[in-house]
Structures are given as C-alpha cells and as structure tokens.
Symmetry: C2
Amino acid sequence: MQNKQIIYTNPPSAGINPSLNGGTFSLQTVSLADKDHLPADKILVRVHYLSLDPAMRQWLTAKRSYIAPVERGAVMRGQSIARVISVGSQLTDSPFQPGDWVLAYSGWQEYALLSSTEIQQIAFPPGGGTPTDALSVLGMTGLTAYFGLLDVGNPRPTDTVVISGAAGATGMVAGQIAKKVRGAKRVVGLAGSQAKCDMLVKELGFDAAINYKDADWREQLKKATPEYIDVFFDNTGGDILDACLARAARNARFVICGAISQYNATKPQGPASFMTVISQRITMKGFIVFDYAKQYGAALQDLSTWLAQGLIKRKETIVPGGLEAAPQALVDLYAGANTGKMMVEVAPVKPAARL
Amino acid sequence: MQNKQIIYTNPPSAGINPSLNGGTFSLQTVSLADKDHLPADKILVRVHYLSLDPAMRQWLTAKRSYIAPVERGAVMRGQSIARVISVGSQLTDSPFQPGDWVLAYSGWQEYALLSSTEIQQIAFPPGGGTPTDALSVLGMTGLTAYFGLLDVGNPRPTDTVVISGAAGATGMVAGQIAKKVRGAKRVVGLAGSQAKCDMLVKELGFDAAINYKDADWREQLKKATPEYIDVFFDNTGGDILDACLARAARNARFVICGAISQYNATKPQGPASFMTVISQRITMKGFIVFDYAKQYGAALQDLSTWLAQGLIKRKETIVPGGLEAAPQALVDLYAGANTGKMMVEVAPVKPAARL
C-alpha cells in the first residue's frame, strides 16, 4: 500500500514557496503496512480533509514559540478529518472502530498510522453536523474564538467589538458569539473583499463590515466605531491593529489572537500607535487555545448548542485537488482566498457518508 | 509684586526647543496682587521646586489622551513644591497657614494664586523627610511605581522583574519595591550610564543593571535574565520594550507606564517583537496613576513606612538656575541627565526650612 506525504524541505526566507519541486515542501511516496498487517498498537486512518491554519507559517520558523518547529525532512504538521480503516490488535478495547470519523494529528499525508492518543472521536452537534465541523466551529478555530472572545475580551452588552480577519474561520465565530450570544451593542468586522463584508452583515449579523482594501478604510473604521472600540479581537496585526489602537476606548481589551499580516514578514511591523496603550489604559493579551484544554468539553457543548440554535452559522472553503494542492492553498490562505475555515480535500467523501 | 511665568508658546514639531526666545516656551512677567490684597477665595504660594515629568511632552500634543493638552498662551502645566504666603479672607477656616509646605498645581511660575483644591498639605513620613519627597517617593512618581508594580505587574517571589528607566524617579521606586518589599527573585534595571548602573546595584539593591548605551546591551540583557522576564515595568518603550518582549517568559506581565524614548518622535516606533505577545501569552497593560486616586492614602502610608524603614531610598536631581532653567532641564530629562526625580529649584530653601 502506497502513501503520499508532503515533506517540509526548505525553510522559507519570507513567504512559502508552493512549488513541490524546489519549494518549501516536497512530495514523497512511501510504502505503508497493509491494513491486515498493522503494528499492534496503531490505528490506520484515511485522511479526508486537511486543516489549513494561519499559525502554520510560524511552525516553520526555528525560534522560541508555543510549539516546537516542524523538523526539516518531516511530514508537514497539521490536523485532519480522517476515517478509521483498521485498528491494531492490541487496541481492540479502544473506542475506535473502522468507519469512525476522527480528528487526527496526521500531518499532510493520505494515510497515517497513529497511536490512539493522536486521534479523537468526532462529537456531532445535537441537530446534526458534518465531519468537517470538527475542524471549524467545533474544532480549534471555534475554540480559539470562544476562549479569546469570552475569556480574554469579555464583551458587555454596551460594548463596541471589532474583529479583524472577520471572514476567517476564527473571526467569524468570534463575531457571531459577540453579537448573538453576548449581545454586544455593535460588532464590526474587517475583511478583504466586498463580498466577504456583505456576507458578514447580511448572513452573520455583524452591524457593519469594512473592506480593508478600500483606500478609505481608516475613515470607514472611524465612522463605524462612533463610541470607539471596547474589545478588539485581532487576527491580522499590522496596520489594522495600529488603526484599532488609535480608536481604542478607555479600558479597552485587545485580544491578540493572530497576526496573519506579519507571519511572512522578514521584519515584522510593530504597532506605531502603541502609546494609546497608556493614555487609554488598554489591556493587550495574547493567548494560545491549548492553555484552555481542560475547558474544551464545556466549550464544545456551548458551541454545539449555538450551532444547533442557528446563533452561529458555519462557512467552509474546501480546496479540491488532493494532497498536492495543500502548499498552494496555504499560500492562498495568507492572501485571504478563504471564507471561513479553509481545508484541502485529500479524498472526497461520498454524499451518503456526510452526517 | 512681580511674577515671572513660563508660557507655552510654539507647539514643538518633534523635540522641545528650550530657547526662551522663539522656542517652545517664552518668559513673561506679570503683576500679582499684593499679599495684603488677595482675592478672598485664593491662596498665594511661593513656588520652590518645579516637578519635571516625562509626560510633559505629551501634554503639548493636541490629540486624544488622558489629559487635555496645555493651551497655547497658557502658563506651562506642572506640579510644584510651594510654601503658603497668605490665605484669602474667605479661607480662614481652611487648614492652610502661612509657612505651610504644600504640593501645588501651580504651573511654571514663581508665585501662584490658587484655590484650596489646587494645593495639598504635605504629609511627612514618620522618620522625617524633606518637602521634595512629595514630588518623588511620596508623590505622583512614587504612587505611579506603587500601583504599576503592585497592581498591574504583581510580581511573585519566584519572578524575574526588569525595569527600564530604572534610575529615573518612578523606575527606581518600582525596582526597590519589587526587590525589597515583594522579594522578587531577580530585579534587573536598564539605565543610561555606568554610574547609574553602579548606583542601582550598590545602593538600591538591584541584582543587575545594564547600560543600554553599551553596544552589547541586548546580550547583557539575555545573560541577566536566564529565566526570562516575568514582569517588565516599562518607562522607555522603543528598542528596550522590543528586546524585553523577545525575552518575555510565558504569561509575562508588561506594565506600560511610559515611553520616554518615543515622546519626541514624529513617527513612533512600534515594538517589532510584538508577536511574542501571542506565543508567550503576554499581558501588556497601560495605566494612568489618576485612576487609583481613591487608594492614594493607603499607598502613601505604605510608601512612607518603607521609606522610614530604609526599604526605599530616595534620589533627586535638583537643577539650579531659577524658573528660566526649566525648559532646558526638561530637554535634559529626555536625554537622561537625571538620577531619580528631576526638579528645578525656583527659589532656594534655607537649610533650616528643610525638615
């Protein structure tokens, strides 16, 4: 049995080079144990959807961070939605059965031989859902929005909340929780196209949305935040963070979730309006969702309920083309090609298999 | 009776121009009511020491801040140590008597006619003190250090604490509280000369001090913080903030008290290492001491006790030359000419008057 893998090969100097010939990654094909001759302590899974995450660029940089960098020559790290093919003979008491949908720490490959701690059963929301929910609203991105918005930002009903990267997987969940669950007075999103902005307002209930590619976006931001910004949930960093600092209300909370505009920069841009941190008594707080692991269960229950109640709507961008499409899709993620969670379809799922 | 005043005249484009002929300020002499013909609701005071504060540059900039800018044509704003000359006839029930030392919101002038809400009695520490303590350890700078370090930074005995502007009025109090009162494991100061660094370690009990003008200061900072930085008390901003972000420990607290390196900049410098805010889960919090006004009394009691116990030592830089010396002294403050609180001696005090 053959298994295709994408290997991290050449550290990028700035942006990722998506070519599989001489670029950041390369493709290799290896032989995999037959499903009837598995190692006794492993589970064989078939990868269907690869998660693409803004943090991936950081994982390729060898510096002190919240997670060790991916080693050169290793399979590229990443979560996926996978299906169990077979279970090793020592693991017959495990809860996993062939056919189960699982969230897998598989990395970028078609198949993976994993230990039982590297996969998790997918819990579906009460009203039904799809396996890919486990990568979006009911996965790390939804959890990131949940803890960042509720624990770090903690918006009140009188607050103006601004979300950058608002049409991205995390941003759109954060904005919907702010508006629909917390009832914030005003929720404003920043996104990179008019179509995304229209979607935020018309479909997801944002009070206003601003296309940061418009020449007058700073002026629009000012008009959209007449009472300044109480909570800023930042996924982008750079100029947008800077402009929001300049619009911060007294005692504002700045949730520093990501900085996608800076991940490819050789020289990152610090926020020039930093001094409003003092004059407006701003609290800026970075967070990593892993620190909330003990509270995932309760959070997923909330998120499932809100999804079932229609308070949160899901959006996905699924890139076809198999495993080989992943490097270019990651580059496209940094260019903002996605609406909602971006995934690569490694192997299609027959309609009947969607739950 | 004649009164000399320094008037805010020309908004500076970047740094303050200290010339009294065409510079940022100008000198004027006005007539003042004789002490026997005072307005009935006013108190006449003689200014002895003007407070010079890093925040003053910001007060000259007309933008949204924690305090309205000084108006052009007005006496330059500032606190002073003054002595009551006479009390208006309506205020005979007030606690103020001729000869009392007071902390006065006088601005930059030799005499001031103030209402009773614009002056405060000076409370001396149990072991005795000098009137100028009310501008340093027992004044706004001491209070700023107290609330910033204890409420925002909140160091624990296992923590490494780093202080920038450590030989300045606020920094030296913050460092001494961290080391002597809180017993932080390691307290490291950054200052602008070898003499200041020696003073911090030998006189004030810092564990290490780094001259940021040394070419290898970043390397020295790394060596001085082998367990990274848990609490950073920042008075300078700029490159030092940036370097400390890169050395932050997980869950570090960054107390954003001031940014003296940036106040004269036409284009402020944002911290390029900002992304460690996410990877190390840093909390950066700006604060303004005025927000703690209700707790001043208790804080001053603590500070007085610590001063009397020798846990905190005081340092002052008193600039001679009268009122006219103030503009140049303010420029010198931004260049780091001071050790501890910087004041201008407007009128000397006879030795016998020192308490």
